[in-house]
Symmetry: C2
Subunit: 390 residues, 2 copies
């Protein structure tokens, strides 16, 4: 796959991980407008802290993105910050830009300071290998224990011109513990100002990356970055509707890939909560179902165990009357107005055995809705995460 | 074990479960003051709804407690309510009391109406078998898939007299899915008015049953009932401090038994959060650690994976500065003032391999604290809960 105009990328081995590419570089050749969303965890990693303040200082301009796998550089105090700063300085020298136009991201073990000498030594090689097709090497270099790379693209029309979006992500795979980091980078040739870009990204993230759950844990390093090179040359006041649609699609596709590739995941449930009093209520109910170990283990077994789903909705804090609640799985109605509905067990079992299980909860309390994707909880999750760190 | 003066109990087979006792009865021979705490799940089961309103109508007086296993009678609408009412009517006839002096509790599968004919047919047998030593039969009859019965006792001095407390509970064992119900019944010969009793129970429950987590799910049927026969004959204005201490001890012991017997549990962590700005903050942080699948799987593996513990604290919503956070496991300091502390891996591994793993988080933000007990998450949990309902 080629990157949108204005971007080149590469992926190389820096030796942080054994025998695996672990350093990715993206270069916006003439710079790019940038928008980003970061983890809300209080223990934000050194690269998160630096990238947040750099974006502010540069007024939303980014020229280079440096991503390493194998070390999260989180809970590493001043030493971790100093290591990240040295990577930033070296990158700015190599690609000739302001330090605040360098965006950093890290993923890997918590509590270990980034071996920045390895990164700095390998950066020239990463710069040499930059190419428009380098997104493939980049997509591999940012992985930890993901089963495979995650890349998605879409096209859009903006001000009468045909533009492109390409996104790349890594999910939560955790053979080495603590590698729960979700990272995503989306690039486009559209010409969009940083403030507008931030609004578009926030809207897409809310219904994609913020609407998935593998295990309910939020990492110290999560971030989603959107870069726009402006090479499309569209007027800056063009209608963004089709761009937003394409951005939504790319973010949703990457989010789906992350859930589908959750540790040990064999199945994904799509929890659609309708009829809520507020969007917050809808989200509360959907997230309670998405993170319930009882629901997730039943999903793993393909068991249409609806009592657990309603029990999770019931403790979620969402406001509703139990006499108005209905629940269905695909075409099968399981509960109508708070009372069990007649259905054939084998019909329900068939729906719960699919790769994607569509659940619909109607709270009967209003008009708000929310959708959350969540993986099942199986033996492989326990095996991957109970192992001693190695 | 003998019950406190004024109580008799029994446990029999009603045929709701196959080849297992499944019906328990407690009789307060001359009635008892009662206090109760119920699940906050919106989907409260029929017995919960009836018992709540009965306690109100009787002014906190209870004469009989009827508990069945094998069927939760939850999300069963009007049919479920009618079935529970028939059990109540029959019980009141047999023990000659007002219907509102009958307390009902059920545990088992959600969405199935109680086969009340089986209960009503077996009630005379349960009445015939009532005895002071019948607490053992009762403790077995209320179990679902708990590994064993859970009984605890304590003595206290009240108004110069020596009284007794005996508590019995069932926990969350779920070979048959949906049997996540926590039930506890505590009896005493103390003479305490219902309002005072309720205050004492609420205080004990907050630091025992409300401070444990097996999987973060709250069932539709949870309840804790405290009955006081008054046979001790103490003055009603006597100082309750020692009674409260004994009640705390019995509730904590039962709560510990429930966590230790959580499905697939091999280990329990005691999460003590200190230095919080408020008790709410302390609880938020402790519960985030207690319910984190990443922390619970690492605990299962005996892995001193502190990054996961702090990541959970960091997303909990508790207010603190990361530069002031410290974390220790038993005598080992893992993080001091937000920076990794030097420790020997094998020393930490030894602490994390204990049956009870003491974790202490100091938020450095205030003086409030909270303690939560939580089990690990292992393969047996997945196996028990992914099985098809049988």
């Amino acid at each position: 796959m080629k990157l949108p105009r204005g971007f080149v990328a590469s992926g190389v081995r820096a030796g942080i991980r054994k025998k695996r590419p672990d350093l990715g570089l993206i270069l916006a050749e003439e710079g790019a407008s940038a928008a980003a969303v970061f983890t809300r965890n209080k223990f934000q990693a050194a690269p998160v802290l630096l990238s947040k303040s750099a974006l502010k200082k540069s007024g939303g301009r980014v020229k280079a993105v440096v991503v390493n796998a194998g070390c999260a550089n989180a809970v590493t105090g001043n030493e971790g910050l100093a290591a990240a700063k040295r990577v930033r300085t070296r990158t700015a020298e190599l690609v000739r830009c302001d330090e605040n136009e360098v965006f950093l991201a890290s993923t890997g073990v918590i509590g270990v300071v980034l071996p920045d000498n390895k990164v700095r030594t390998s950066l020239p090689d990463a710069v040499n290998r930059l190419s428009s097709g380098g997104i493939d090497a980049f997509s591999h270099a940012i992985l930890t224990t993901d089963v495979g790379p995650k890349v998605a693209q879409a096209t859009f029309t903006l001000g009468g011109k045909r533009g492109r979006l390409v996104g790349v992500a890594k999910g939560a795979g955790m053979i080495h513990p603590n590698m729960a980091t979700m990272l995503a980078f989306v690039m486009t040739d559209a010409n969009v100002a940083p403030v507008t870009l931030q609004r578009a990204l926030r809207s897409s993230v809310d219904q994609s990356f913020n609407a998935i759950s593998v295990d309910g844990d939020t990492s110290t390093n999560d971030c989603v970055l959107l870069l726009a090179s402006g090479k499309l040359g569209n007027e800056s006041r063009a209608d963004l509707a089709d761009f937003q649609r394409a951005l939504d699609a790319v973010c949703r596709e990457l989010a789906w890939m992350i859930v589908r590739d959750g540790e040990g995941a064999t199945r994904v449930m799509e929890i659609e909560v309708h009829g809520a009093k507020s969007e917050r209520d809808a989200r509360l109910a959907a997230h309670a179902v998405a993170t319930s170990p009882l629901v997730k283990t039943a999903l793993h077994g393909g068991d249409p165990n609806w009592g657990r789903i309603l029990a999770a909705v019931g403790r979620s804090g969402a406001r509703f009357s139990i006499k108005r609640v209905s629940l269905s799985a695909g075409p099968i109605t399981l509960v109508r107005d708070g009372q069990p509905a007649p259905y054939r067990e084998k019909d329900a079992a068939r729906v719960f055995s699919r790769e994607r299980v569509p659940l619909r909860v109607d709270l009967g309390a209003g008009n708000a809705r929310a959708v959350v994707l969540a993986s099942d909880l199986g033996h492989d999750y326990v095996s991957l995460n109970a192992d001693y760190r190695s």
